[in-house]
Amino acid sequence: MSDSKDAPGIAAADLSACGGVDHEGGVPARRRVLRAVDIEKSFHRGIPPFRRSIPVLKRASIEIHAGELVGLVGENGSGKSTLMQIVVGLLKRDDGLIERPGRLGYCPQVPMVWDKLTIAEHFELFAQAYGLGREVAKQSEESLLEELQFTRYRDFRVEELSGGTRQKLNLALALMHDPELLLLDEPYAGFDWETYLRFWEMSERRREEGMGILIVSHLLAEQERLTRVYSLVDGKATST
């Protein structure tokens, strides 16, 4: 894994191409799947000379290893989603270094899906994007539909689904290629209690299988399930 600091705007390093095994005191440690160091981000509003900058992230750093289930908490507007979007590549950072694996799953806070397409068509499009073969894609789709219990909606359009079922699709699309690193932004919004519990069971099972998972939330009630929690305050992330 490269520890050089790349310039803003340069694509983040791909951990899968860098080996990515840490050794602490001669004992092989778990492989690091995310390293975000000194991330800075400000948003700019208005036009000159009335332009003002709103700093959101001030040298925020987080790190996740394979088999860890990590929380990222903070108040509304603290920059949790901004940090996650920077890690994913949806937002450009002003400064800092990011190293992440090539196989990454991202579940955005608001489902990013097409209203007029069916659940099956979404799976087909994302299988294409992830480069999954026909059989693997079919198996993955069936297993996720079953696991999240929404098989009966497979041929429904997104616009016909409830908020909770949309969120299930949103989550399933992030999981279908079995990513090394899973980034979840408020993933259980709209879930009923049963689905909420199933979500945590799914996350723990995947963590045990070696997936690195980062869950962003303004409120994490299930802290005992987490390896550790980062708290984002005043633009900085501190681990607890």
Binding site: L91, R93, M112, W114, K116, L117, E121, E124, F126, L173
Partner: protein
């Protein structure tokens, strides 16, 4: 079926799947050619222009294609911004998303142009059918670019759709033979395509300048649409 065809097919289905959209794809060309054309002639007379009835009917088919393609391209981009970016980031890549979007938009442009062309053919007949078909598709391509560009730059659906309608209205009412002030028409994006369509409807040929102008601006419209789709789907890191 290749990956590009499959993704383009999904994007096209997404646009034509709403039953109301399909109805409007037929109703708008019919409205423009049968009703709007006569109103356009009256407006032209009020503004000091000399748009003949046959010319107004022909050009209305182009405006129908322009209106539909402009609004469809705007809403395609405005409503799918997040999902397109997610798909690109998931591994499809921005350029494959862009190529799929432009393929779907141009296919939609062909469908819209065909409906507008058939309506014109049934309403009044066309002396130079191939010229008219090419000119109507040029309208569609130009407004696909305008709609996509506004979709990429303006996030609010209401503001964006109003902007598309404003540009469309300015374009119509400063078009050829619409006003006594001919200099205005020189700056509208559809001027060469309008000249082609008016000439085709009246059974006249067109100078090469209009052909070059119409295809040049249509190609620019497609290039602008490509840039707009890329702006939306590109990675930010």
């Amino acid at each position: 079926m290749s990956g590009l065809t499959r993704v383009s097919g999904s994007f096209l289905r997404e646009q034509v799947r709403a039953p109301l959209n399909v109805v409007l794809l037929i109703a708008i060309p019919v409205f423009f050619v049968l009703i709007f054309a006569s109103v356009l002639g009256e407006f032209a007379a009020a503004l000091g222009g000399d748009l003949a009835e046959q010319a107004a009917t022909s050009i209305s088919a182009g405006w129908a294609a322009a209106f539909l393609c402009g609004t469809l391209a705007f809403f395609a981009l405005a409503s799918s911004r997040g999902a397109d970016r997610r798909l690109a980031l998931a591994g499809l890549g921005a350029w494959r998303v862009v190529l799929s979007r432009i393929t779907a938009s141009l296919l939609l442009g062909v469908i819209v142009s065909l409906v507008a062309y058939l309506t014109l053919l049934l309403r009044s007949g066309v002396e130079h059918p191939l010229h008219a078909a090419a000119a109507i598709f040029a309208f569609a391509a130009i407004y696909t670019g305008i709609g996509a560009l506004i979709g990429a730059l303006v996030r609010d659906p209401l503001s964006g759709s109003l902007l598309v309608v404003l540009i469309f209205s300015l374009d119509i009412f400063s078009g050829p033979a619409m006003t006594s002030n001919a200099s205005l028409a020189n700056f509208t994006p559809t001027r060469p395509a309008s000249n082609l369509l008016i000439a085709a409807g009246g059974g006249q040929g067109s100078p090469s300048g209009d052909w070059i102008g119409a295809f040049g601006i249509a190609a620019a419209g497609i290039a602008i649409a490509l840039a707009a789709f890329w702006l939306t789907a590109r990675k930010r890191a």
